[in-house]
Subunit: 309 residues, 2 copies
Amino acid sequence: MRLGLDIGGTKTDAVAVDDTGSVIDRVRLVTGFGADAVVRTALEGVETIAVRAGVGVSAFDSIGVGIPGQVDTASGTVMHAVNLGFDELDLGARLGGMLGRGVKVENDVKAAALGAYHLLPSTRSMAYLNLGTGLAAGLVIDGALWRGARGAAGEIGHIPVDPHGALCPCGQRGCLETVASGSAIARQWPTDDPVPVLSLLAAADAGDAVAGGIRSRLIDNVAAAVRVLVLTVDVEVVVIGGGLSALGDPLLDEVRRVLAGWALESPFLASLELDRRVSLLPAGFPAAAVGAALVGAPIEKEGAGSWQR
Amino acid sequence: MRLGLDIGGTKTDAVAVDDTGSVIDRVRLVTGFGADAVVRTALEGVETIAVRAGVGVSAFDSIGVGIPGQVDTASGTVMHAVNLGFDELDLGARLGGMLGRGVKVENDVKAAALGAYHLLPSTRSMAYLNLGTGLAAGLVIDGALWRGARGAAGEIGHIPVDPHGALCPCGQRGCLETVASGSAIARQWPTDDPVPVLSLLAAADAGDAVAGGIRSRLIDNVAAAVRVLVLTVDVEVVVIGGGLSALGDPLLDEVRRVLAGWALESPFLASLELDRRVSLLPAGFPAAAVGAALVGAPIEKEGAGSWQR
């Protein structure tokens, strides 16, 4: 049995997975704000799962944490997790010290890539495209998570696509993230709706031209992100997840429609069948928590068929 | 001893490399046009190297061929090699049949990536960015050549960067290749000069505004290609090769200047140190032929120090 946490800006998911990778328990907690509160939330997540399983924390084959920010996987230190209220936290050492055992820490998008990968039994390469507040991808190449030379693999949200676009918090202009992410919608479509993208889509459907333009740029640039991933890494599959993926099939259908449209113009793109490579993370699947539980675990996908629900 | 060929549109390089990977012989032939002539050229390359080494073709641990076009590495079949005058050629089977032994076939840019990789003893990931008639990259990830799910990894030349740009032969508009490649220069700067880029740079240096604009777009978009490779794959090193790399340090200096300029605007890009990751393939190094010789060979980089000349 393995235990994984996904520490998000507002909620923390904790899961237990069995040897075949199936989720056998899951709890959801409110994430505290600031370094100490985040550590307490993580500790509570681990202890809650252990108590419910009726075992001590030493009984788990591994304990892993997925968390936003820049993660040094060797030391378990997390940097620049702005939404969690700290700039640096030695999460692995602190949580490991409290638990009296080793804890693995991984960036949440990379953990989610690993979790999503285990849903695809016969695949050897994939990208997990996270459409959350930001836009970033996690890569699995030749069956293993690829972090990159400095942990920056998949940071495609900061590839500029429009020299006249909005200034990105990263300092560049017109990054993919400025047009295809939750923050892109929040900036372009101010609303009191708790789910701004739903307000945007409703207005676009009702014929609002501004909303229609924002929606078009969103869809076109999610498709552009898929194109960057396939043309650069040639992954078999691109799985879309993150907050915006809750839009479900209407999002997927539109992205596929854009990709299929490009294929009509370009025999080269057509040969790559981009539209057939895109899929959505199954709704509600806790990919980052499952992936965190599996960080460093041997990948035994023969027995993974039961994951595909 | 291993034998490698690099079949180019006009010239074919043939090399013998020893167990440490050093080039111990090299010959250059004129490439024939059309399927039969290409096979004859390849055969001549192999036999010439074998005769000069005083051995039979069975004496080589491996024989490999790098060639432009889409290569099925399992069958050794080459598709769409327009510049060589054929649409499909079962090169591996035909050459192997003539030689009475196995021959490996690989796309030339991917072979060159492998050859360039062996010049970098302590590196685990790199991209070889080929600026030839087209623009494409070869990727080495975690110490191994990564071809992608369908052999399309590194096809970044067809990532669009300007929606109002020129129509690309691929059918899209404003691809990287339309502004940062030999064909981009030939299209934008018609000249009788046998090396159009030299004519372009001379005119730009002399104050010609059109030439200056073409040069700026070229340099900016070579830098953009480096950014795409690092933000997507986070390779440690990007080695620039291909015909345009003959411009040497002036090209490298300008690309680094653009990358350093972006870093001034973006702390995020600054943290990635893009300008320090770029280098040039050593002038005259037959990367694709060496890489072809090494396709499928165990990578033993401990003994590779002698390669770095």
